[in-house]
């Protein structure tokens, strides 16, 4: 423990460790995560040194201006300021479980939904954000859902055309660095789907794709690569993408799928690769602050009808 503290102190002294968020929640959460991960497995001194250097590397990542809260909300993105929100808690839980499962090693995770509109992009994006909460980790989200891409919406503010995965796979001139873009969330990088909507499934099996994933993975030790794949039941590409990944996360949307569909998807993925199932978008009513109604009814009613 003393070694970790020493390392942390050293990092702080050199300025390489930068706590991104001033919010105490996030720090606490991340600290908790760190302790759980460190307590769950024996960590050697060498490992810690490596992590420290990785953190230093991550800390030096070039960031653009962070997205404001409005943009985050608009894109339905979790952020540490949301506090004890159920959604945030759920994503942290997923992150913790993934880290436990992978024993701290970075990996490629494909997120797919059982059906269309299942919210796999939402889960993938927020899971990436959850990884990025941790100052010592970085996440890269790759949009592999060409028919129905989602990530380009994050860049609507910027008018410049951005290269994406399809551009990279088709065009040899484009470098890996050209398709990885910051989105305004610290430690989160994004590879959009690219200009073309339709590419043959063979691109995914190409060596170039494999090399791309390898190089991205090796760039940062603490980088988690998350692929947003099309729904299992709607695209054959998903199966091919799944072969490139270490794990698959299956999103089951609330009230939309049947038992048979889940069974079919789980069978297609295989027990070995299936990291787990995420039950998404459980339609629980929000906390509307009914307590305030009792405390100050007039104010509550006034607030309800005010724009």
């Amino acid at each position: 423990m003393s070694k970790i503290e020493k390392a942390l102190n050293k990092a702080r002294a050199t300025g390489s460790l930068r706590i991104a968020s001033p919010h105490s929640d996030q720090t606490e959460g991340d600290k908790q995560l760190t302790t759980t991960s460190s307590s769950s497995m024996p960590v050697s001194a060498n490992d810690i040194e490596q992590r420290v250097s990785a953190s230093a590397l991550i800390a030096r990542m070039r960031e653009i201006a962070p997205l404001d809260r409005h943009a985050l909300t608009q894109n339905r993105l979790i952020h540490p300021e949301m506090g004890e929100n159920g959604t945030v808690r759920a994503f942290r839980e997923i992150r913790t479980k993934i880290i436990q499962k992978t024993q701290g090693r970075n990996c490629i995770i494909m997120v797919t939904s059982v059906t269309g509109e299942g919210g796999s992009s939402f889960v993938a994006l927020n899971l990436s954000a959850a990884f990025a909460f941790d100052a010592g980790k970085t996440a890269l989200l790759m949009d592999c859902n060409f028919r129905n891409p989602f990530l380009h919406k994050l860049f609507t503010a910027r008018n410049e055309p951005l290269h994406g995965l399809t551009d990279y796979l088709e065009n040899t001139d484009i470098d890996i660095a050209d398709i990885i873009h910051p989105v305004g969330i610290e430690r989160l990088r994004v590879v959009p789907s690219g200009g073309r909507r339709e590419i043959p499934a063979e691109y995914f099996t190409s060596i170039k794709m494999k090399r791309l994933l390898d190089s991205i993975r090796q760039r940062y030790r603490e980088r988690y690569i998350i692929l947003d794949a099309p729904p299992m039941t709607e695209s054959a590409d998903t199966q091919i993408i799944a072969d490139l990944c270490d794990y698959v996360l299956l999103v089951v949307p609330y009230g939309q799928v049947t038992d048979a569909q889940i069974d079919a998807c789980a069978h297609a993925i295989g027990e070995k690769k299936l990291l787990g199932v995420v039950f998404n978008n459980e339609r629980v009513p929000p906390d509307l602050g009914w307590r305030n109604l009792l405390r100050n009814p007039l104010a509550f009613i006034a607030r309800a009808f005010n724009q």
């Binding site: 939309q256 889940i262 787990g276 199932v277």
Partner: protein, 512 residues
């Protein structure tokens, strides 16, 4: 969807929240519809009366067989037919104040239809008819019910009387017809009989008996004749061999016979007595006397012979045998003649009878036909006479209102409290249905859809690792929007409830 109860409630709450607009909308719609229905629903005062139809009165067993009671199979149906008839309906309209205002025929038709719809007639058991009428006016309900029952009874009795009258008339007519027929048949029979006196039923039997008798008589007579002829022949034969006269035994013969007798007596006596016995002496004297008499007689006879004179004593008499035979022969001759006459007479009669028989057979066919007609007509006529009397009794029964009686078991009462669905039922029902219907629909949807609404089921049922259940992400703006929406929905619900309450109060104080 087969869920554990704890999940079921949670999912139901979630879904109700998801469909909050539809739920509130349905609540409002159901309540408004119920309210309107409650307002327009006729208030429904109902008055009922039960009519006891009694056709098993004391008269019935008494008149068993003599009178036929009208069968009433389905009294309610019959009552419906009678009551909903134009006649009663018009009467009811007149008497219960519907026609106080001048109305067009179309309006009258509508009112009649309305009354028909509001009237229910049911059989309670075998002999009781329940008549119920609903109206929004209590008094009119009472009056109409009363009137309907009264009119029904009078109409039914009238109809029954008319029915038995018609039956009687018919049977009477038939009876008259058969009477005429019978008279005609009788007349024909009479004429025929006059024309054919012989032709009586059984004449042929008479004739055959008579023929038989005649035949027997002829045979018998022939037999007798034959016998008589044989007898006659035999007598004639005998008569030819017999002498007409016969010598009668003389006095001498008589003396000798006497002597022989006396001699025999003497012999007998000598066996017992001596010659001196007086009797023997007497007999000896007698024999001597007789011998002397014979000698004298011989002398006389020889003297007579010499003179040629016939002496009386010694006469030749007619032969009696001959005489007897002669008489018998004459008798036999008479018998033969008589029998011959008898046979010829019998043969004549036989001939006559045969002719009569032929005549009778011809007339008998006609006769039996006429008789048959007559008998059939007579039977039917008698039967009809009996029936006519039965019908007359039935008719009188109905005329005296004794056969089928109607009694108002329970008279119609003026209803004080409205019955049936009242306004409050609609209000309460509307509120309940407004809540239960949407929830029920959602529940039914959940039951019908085999989709997954509970995350825990994935790990429980499919044995897959469930990483997390991500609740719907409500952004502050979303929450604000939801809050506003919930506010509006609450307001809508409250307004609906208030409107319902206000209308209920107005209804309670009888403003509406």
């Amino acid at each position: 969807m087969n869920l554990k109860p704890e999940y079921r409630l949670k999912v139901l709450i979630n879904e109700v929240f998801n469909y909050r607009r539809a739920v509130v909308g349905l609540f409002v719609v159901v309540n408004v519809v119920a309210l309107i229905l409650g307002l327009v629903w006729p208030k429904g005062y109902s008055s009922s009366t039960t009519i006891l139809v009694d056709d098993k009165k004391i008269i019935q067993p008494l008149m068993q067989g003599a009178a036929v009671a009208t069968e009433v199979a389905d009294r309610a149906r019959l009552a419906r037919e009678v009551i909903f008839g134009r006649k009663i309906m018009n009467q009811v309209l007149e008497d219960t104040g519907w026609m106080a205002v001048k109305r067009t025929p179309e309006e009258v038709g509508e009112i009649v239809e309305k009354i028909r719809k509001r009237t229910s007639i049911a059989s309670l058991g075998k002999d009781i008819i329940k008549l119920e009428y609903r109206d929004d006016d209590a008094e009119r309900a009472f009056k109409t019910t009363k009137k309907l029952a009264e009119l029904f009874i009078s109409e039914s009795l009238g109809a029954k009387a008319a029915e038995s009258q018609a039956a009687f008339d018919f049977i009477d007519k038939q009876t008259e017809e058969y009477h005429d027929k019978l008279l005609k048949a009788e007349e024909q029979l009479k004429e025929f009989r006059t024309a054919n006196l012989d032709a009586r039923p059984g004449s042929d039997v008479d004739i055959s008996t008579r023929l038989n008798t005649l035949q027997t008589r002829i045979e018998q007579s022939a037999q007798d004749l034959k016998e008589a002829e044989v007898k006659k022949a035999s007598l004639e034969k005998q008569l030819s061999g017999e002498a007409e006269v016969a010598n009668v035994l003389s006095r001498e013969g008589q003396y000798r016979t006497r002597i022989a007798e006396l001699q025999s007596q003497l012999e007998t006596l000598r066996l017992s007595y001596l010659e001196t016995y007086p009797d023997i002496v007497r007999i000896k004297h007698q024999i001597e006397d007789l011998n002397e008499a014979i000698a004298e007689d011989r002398k006389a006879r020889s003297a007579a012979k010499a003179t040629g004179r016939v002496t009386v004593d010694d006469s030749v008499v007619n032969n009696p045998m001959y005489q007897q035979l002669k008489r018998d022969l004459s008798q036999a001759q008479i018998t033969v003649d008589t029998l011959n006459a008898r046979i010829s007479e019998a043969k004549r009669q036989l001939q006559q009878e045969l002719e009569r028989g032929k005549r009778v057979h011809g007339g008998e066919a006609t006769m039996s036909e006429l008789t048959r007609d007559y008998q059939v007509n007579r039977d039917i006529y008698q039967d009809l006479l009996k029936r006519r009397e039965n019908a007359r009794v039935s008719m009188n029964l109905d005329r005296e209102k004794q056969g089928l009686t109607f009694k108002i078991q329970e008279p119609a009462l003026l209803p004080l409290e409205p019955t049936g669905l009242r306004f409050i039922h609609f209000v309460v029902g509307g509120l309940l249905a407004g809540i239960l219907l949407p929830i029920g629909l959602i529940y039914a949807k959940l039951q019908a859809e085999p989709r997954i609404y509970v995350g825990q089921l994935i790990s429980e049922k499919h044995k897959l690792p469930l990483l997390a259940i991500i609740p719907h992400m409500w952004s502050p703006a979303d929450i604000q929007a939801v809050r506003r929406e919930v506010g509006w929905l609450t307001l809508t619900t409250s307004i609906t409830v208030l409107v319902v309450a206000a209308v209920s109060v107005l209804r309670l104080v009888k403003v509406i």
